[in-house]
Structures are given as C-alpha cells and as structure tokens.
Amino acid sequence: MRGIRKAYPGVVAVNGVDLDLYPGEIHALVGENGAGKSTLSNIAFGEVKADAGTVKANGSVGLVHQHFELVGRLRVWQNIVLGREPRKGLRIDEAAARAMVTALAAKNGLEIDPDAFVEDLPIGVQQRVELLRELEREPTVLLLDEPTAALAPAEIDAFFATITALAKRGTAIMIVTHKLQEVIAYSHKISVMRHGELVAKLDTYSTSVDDIARAMVGGDLPPVAEREPTTLAPCLTIDDVTAGTGAARADGVTLQVQSGEIVGIAGVEGNGQTALADAIAKMIDYEGVIGLDSKPAIVPQDRHREALVMSWSIVDNAVLGRQHDPGIQKGLLLDGTRARRDAEAIKERFDVRAANLDVAVKTLSGGNQQKIVVGRALIDDPKFVLAYNPTRGIDVGAAALVQSRLMQARNAGAAILLISFELDEILTLADRILVMYRGKVVGNFTRAQVDRAAIGRLMAGSAA
C-alpha cells in the first residue's frame, strides 16, 4: 500500500500511509481505538475505497472482520461456500460442499460441524467459520481484525498455531490488534498507527510492550484516579439467578457487591455476562433473587443502540432514562432548562469535546459519546452502577477518564459491578474479581490474590 489517504466528514481516518506485507510474515498493526487501523485494513481488503494512494496485491486478499459477517440462520457450510457454491446442474451440490468444508477444516487443524447453524455456535467457533470462509478462497494475503477479542486464552494459542502454520505455507498475514502481549509473542513486524498516521515501524524481536504502548499513545498513558479506602456496606445481592437462553445464559449466579467497592466480572464474551446484565437492568425475566433497593445506573455495552438517540443533541440525551425523575418531569412537562444544565455539567466533568450542547451526538467521536453515557449514569450520584464494557472502542484518553470517574464514584461510596472483556481493565479497577464461564461464577479473587494465569485458565474453563 502506498500513500493511502481516507477522510470522512470531520475526521481524517488515514493520512498518507505506506505499508508492505510479505509472504510468510505475520505483521501486527497496532494503535489505540480511533487510530485508523480498521479503516486501513478495510481499504487493503477493498471494502472501502481510499481517497488517494494505491493498493497492489499479488493475488487475492481475505479479511476476517472484527464483527463477523456471517449469516446466523444458515448453516456453517452454507456460510463458507456462499458465492462459490459447488453445483450439480442447477442446484447446489450439498454433499460436495460439506466434504469440502470438512477437508478445509482438517487441513488447517480446526474442528467444525458443517451442518450446525452459525447462530447456535459459541463466538469462538463462529470465528473459525469466518476464518475458514476466507481461507476457502486461498488468499495470498490474509487480514485479521481483532481476531482474539472473543477468545479464551487456550483458544488464542490454538488460533495462533493455525496462523503461524498458514504463514509458514506462504501467506502474508496482517493482524490488527491492541493486545500487545500477543503481538510480542507471535508477530514478526509491527506497524504503529496514531491519529491516522504510521508513526513507528518496529521489529518484534527488538522491542517491548512498553515501547509499543508509548509509540501508540505518543507518550505515557494517562493515569487513572487513585484508589482510596472506603467503608463497605451491602448493596446488591444476586442469589442463584438464572436468565437468558441457550449457550450464553446466566446459570445460577450468586454474588454480592458492596458500597464502596468495584466488583469486576472477567470472562470471554458469550459466557452469560449479557444475560446477567440484562437481568439486573430488568430487561429480561430471570429466576432467583436480585436484591437492590435503589435504581441502578447502567452503562450498557452498546452505546449506539442501547444508550443514546444518535440523532438527538447532547441536551436531549442528557435526560434519557431520567425523564420521569422528580426535578426533570414537572407534571406532564419536561424541564428543558434542567436538561441543559445537566448536559453542561456532564460536558464539564467528563471533558466532552463538542462544538456546543446542541450538536447531534452522532457527530461526536466514540470516546465523547461514551463519556456522555457514563456522565449521565453518574450524574445523580447513584448508589449502584452496572458498567458493561465501559471503555469499549474508545481512545485511550477517554478510557482513562471514564475509568477515573468510576473509581471516584467508588471512592465516594457507590457500589459498582464492572463487566468487561478486557482483563486489564478489570485488573486496574476491581477490588474483587470474579470469573464467569458458561454462565456460572467460577472464580473469586481479591486484589491481593490476583493471579493472572489462574484467571486465564478459569476464563477458558479449566480448573484454576
């Protein structure tokens, strides 16, 4: 790729990037959220057209997306052969397709059931389907966007075994990731992006996690607020709660969160966290008891769909979820002045970068949007906060601010249940760490007892 440039309204996503990928090499593309990595890989794949620059590939390019592009209601083999279906006259030759899929999986050391419906598969297996689909086309270049985001540590090892074997067979591989430990362990070359530009080209053997992190941020990482001593008191009790259906349900979860502490739930995506969160938020039915005597403040995992009305202004979004609160609802009316005051307060305290309070939130960056969501959740000094992936997909600066505010809320006596797919986040913030696997709580650690390796094993389903 030479001189790649791509701009969207309001932001230059990629600004003059040169990148070369060689066969047999695993090249890591790192950068914080919003740096332009995903955009660059979409351009390399051809899904997005660059405004300037050239892309040349010696053969075809495959891309395994971060958010899988599979058809849940179709079977595995149908997803894999889509567009290149083996035929028998006018119809699809189903037997040939199935055989082909099984052979392909074996060749790459992956286990898969060709007849399973994709939507029934756990996320780690779904990713295998997406990977196989790209491999079916025998690309010379394979791009992978955040491939291990939803994998347990053991699955990650297996995944990289497959990728390394693929590289040895001559494929050029680029992995877009922010997991620096994996970069150090498995890649050969590293390119660092920041604000759309390529700021560093590193050899994996001669660099370290800290070097990479510093290049990503252009300095040291902003600090998170200090942890202070607090007095604990009971706040939330969850007793044998079962919610949701299928593989991703919560199954007999028991836990407590006290005021003045942050309880973190670690785990790979798809192990019942969403069902638990929805049960606490009273969005789904559940069996068991959830004891909480105040209204929970929720930071949902999907700000676009669940927390904001994207076409509305900051002012209007500031009272979403609070429209019935006394002080905001006056009889039949909504107090617009109060809404504006609250929006102003959020903008102040959370450093929301916006031209004014009346712009539509969809014009703001992900980090600013998330700051509004968290700011709104914390504005009424709630006794209990449920934060689900509160820093997902936002830049490091915004993430540090959000984490600081959560810590400050905890210091002031709030009870916080933090669910995150980023183990680092849990380790930074939590006073106590639980691990969820297949819907159950399988591990319970205090800060003092933290053992990263043990937690990793529990996340993957092995004994501690």
């Binding site: 969207y8 309204p9 932001v11 996503a13 959220n33 919003g34 995903s38 955009t39 979409n42 997005v48 938020a281 969005m283 929720i298 949902p300 769909r305 669940e306 927390a307 904001l308 009305v309 994207m310 076409s311 509305w312 209007d316 009272v319 979403l320 979820g321 609070r322 429209q323 019935h324 609802q329 039949l332 009316l333 909504l334 617009g336 992900g366 997909g393």
Partner: protein, 342 residues
C-alpha cells in the same frame, strides 16, 4: 428540537416541479393548455371568498388525519388506518349527534368527543395488537380500514338507518349540532380553527412534554427507549389511540359541519392523502398545516376538474403517489453519510 424543513430542500423543490409537470400533462390530455389550466385551477380554488372557503374546507378535512398520522409516525408507528379511523369517528358522531337533544354549546362538544372516542378505539385496537402480539401495524391498520367500511355500511343500512332519507345514512343531525360556518353558506367551519389548535398543541407536546420526549425516542431509537424507562407497550397503544382519535375528530367535523349526517362516502380518501400531507410537512405539525393547505388546493382543484373536465379524482392520486415516492427518498438525500469504522 424542531426538525428544520431546509434539510429536505432538494426533494421538496423536485416534488413541486414534478407536481407542476404532472398537472400540466393532465391538463394537456384533457384539452386545455397548462397556462389556461393553472389559471382556472388557481381561480377555481383561490379566486374568491367562496373558492377560498372551499379550499380551506378541504384543508381542514386533510389536516385532522395528517396530524394523527404525524403523531404516530413520529413514534415509529406506521398508522395507515387513518381512513378507517376517520370513518368510525364520523359514524360515532353521526349516530350520537342524530339523537342528542340539547343546546348547541353542549351538543357540539359531545358530538366531537364521540368522534374522538370512535377514532381512538379504532386506533387503540391496532395499537393494542401491536403491543400485545407484536402484530405489524401496517397490515393491521389496513385490515381495519376494510372492517371499518363494512361495519359502517352495515350500521347505516340497518340499525342506524335514517328514517327519513332514502339512502344508507344516519338520521340528519339537528341544526343545533352543526358546527358554525366561518363563511356563510360554505363548507368551511370552525373545525379549521380546532385543527390548527391541535397542530399547535401537538408541537407543544413533542417539544415540551415527557410523553412527547418518550414517543420521539421510541421513533428514533426504539432499543434505547426500551432500556431507558420508556414503557413501550403502553406508549404504543396510547399513541395509536390518540392518532386515531385525531383522525376520528376529523370525521366528526365533516359529519357535523359539512354533511350534517353520516354516510360511507364521507371521505374520498382523505386518510391516504393525509399520509402525503404528513410527509410533505416533514412530520412537523406546524409545517403540516401549510402542506395541508397545498393539498387542499389540489383536492379542491381536483373536484373542480372533475366537475368541468370530467377527470376522475383518481388523477390526484397519481400526483400524491409520486410525492410520497420522492419524499421517501429524503432519507437518501439528507443522511447519506459514511460512518468510519473505528
């Protein structure tokens, strides 16, 4: 919070041009030149006080259902049943009005209220089906249109049939129940003022009330609304009920003000034209008043063309259909923004 009309300026201009072109074609086919055609259209609809009154009467008939549709559409509910709701509102008003003995200042509100209730029931029925069974409201409101027609037909041919008239209609309403006319001897009544008042009220509801806030959230971000203490089930049937009620009020206004009785021919498709009116008005109650006036000219002009050149009313539907199609494209023109993948 008021949706600015200027963001859709492109299609609006295009729409206006298309309307003019199409009407010119119709005029040419009918044997006049566009120049003559438009001249007679304008003089026939705006040329004098009687003509303007008739145009405003058509405006009123459109404005009621358009406001009801606006309310529903803003909440993301596709109420296509305004025609049936209007009909049932008129039916209830006619039935009650024919037998209500009392002085005007009680009788008129009672008759209007019964139209309101009749339309409300019909709308709430579809709303209930949606919130209880998740039944697609497009299909249910459409089906209810037909059911309303047959129900009304049955009632005015049988139990409610007028003892004095020959056709299928209710007994005539006593003059005490007639809405006072704004311009004597025309079809224009105070209903116009009522409709405009409702428009202003609706705009207030949208911008200043919690109910309006929640229904807008439902329309623009249903999942976010669900997770933020908006009672979607209740809001659905409430909005559909109110939407039907406003349309029903329109039916009552026609019965009480123009026809002075109810029969099933009371609406030449106002409930459907009102959809175009609501869209042209950008789903903003105040702009809808203006749009209703524009369509009022078309409707009055259509009637005039039918009378003079024997052109069927259906011709107007061609124009309306194209307007709706062009405005459906509004989404393309205004919001085609690439979103960067982060």
């Amino acid at each position: 919070m008021k949706r600015a009309l200027n963001i859709a300026r492109g299609p609006m201009v295009l729409t206006l041009l298309l309307v003019i072109v199409l009407m010119s074609i119709v005029m040419v086919i009918a044997g006049t030149t566009p120049w003559e055609g438009f001249a007679s259209l304008l003089s026939g609809t705006l040329g004098g006080p009687r003509e303007i009154a008739e145009t405003l009467a058509q405006t009123t008939a459109l404005l009621f259902p358009a406001l009801g549709i606006c309310l529903a559409f803003r909440a993301g509910l596709f109420n296509i049943g305004a025609e049936g709701q209007l009909l049932l509102g008129g039916l209830t008003a006619g039935a009650i009005g024919a037998h209500f003995a009392g002085p005007g200042w009680i009788a008129i509100p009672v008759v209007l209220a019964s139209g309101f209730v009749g339309g409300a029931l019909w709308g709430a029925l579809a709303g209930w089906m949606k919130s209880r069974f998740n039944a697609n409201e497009i299909i249910s409101t459409l089906m209810l249109n037909y059911v309303a027609l047959y129900l009304a037909n049955y009632l005015v041919s049988g139990p409610l049939k007028s003892p004095v008239a020959t056709g299928s209609e209710t007994a005539p309403l006593p003059p005490s129940v007639w809405l006072p006319a704004l311009v004597p001897d025309t079809r224009l009544t105070v209903a116009l003022l009522i409709a405009i008042a409702i428009a202003v009220l609706l705009q207030f509801v949208f911008t200043r009330t919690v109910f309006g806030y929640e229904l807008r959230a439902l329309g623009e971000a249903p999942e976010a609304a669900r997770r933020n203490h908006v009672n979607i089930g209740r809001l659905t049937w409430l909005v559909m009920g109110l939407s039907g009620a406003i349309a029903g009020l329109g039916g009552a206004a026609i019965v009480s003000g123009e026809l002075h009785r109810f029969n099933t021919q009371l609406s030449p498709g106002y409930g459907f034209t009102a959809i175009a009116v609501a869209l042209v008005g950008d789903l903003n109650p105040l702009w809808i008043c203006l749009a209703a006036f524009g369509f009022g000219i078309l409707e009055a002009g259509g009637l005039a063309m039918q009378a003079s050149a024997n052109i069927p009313e259906m011709a107007i539907h061609i124009i309306e259909g194209i307007i709706i199609l062009v405005l459906a494209a509004r989404r393309y023109v205004t919001t085609r923004v690439e979103v960067p993948a982060v």
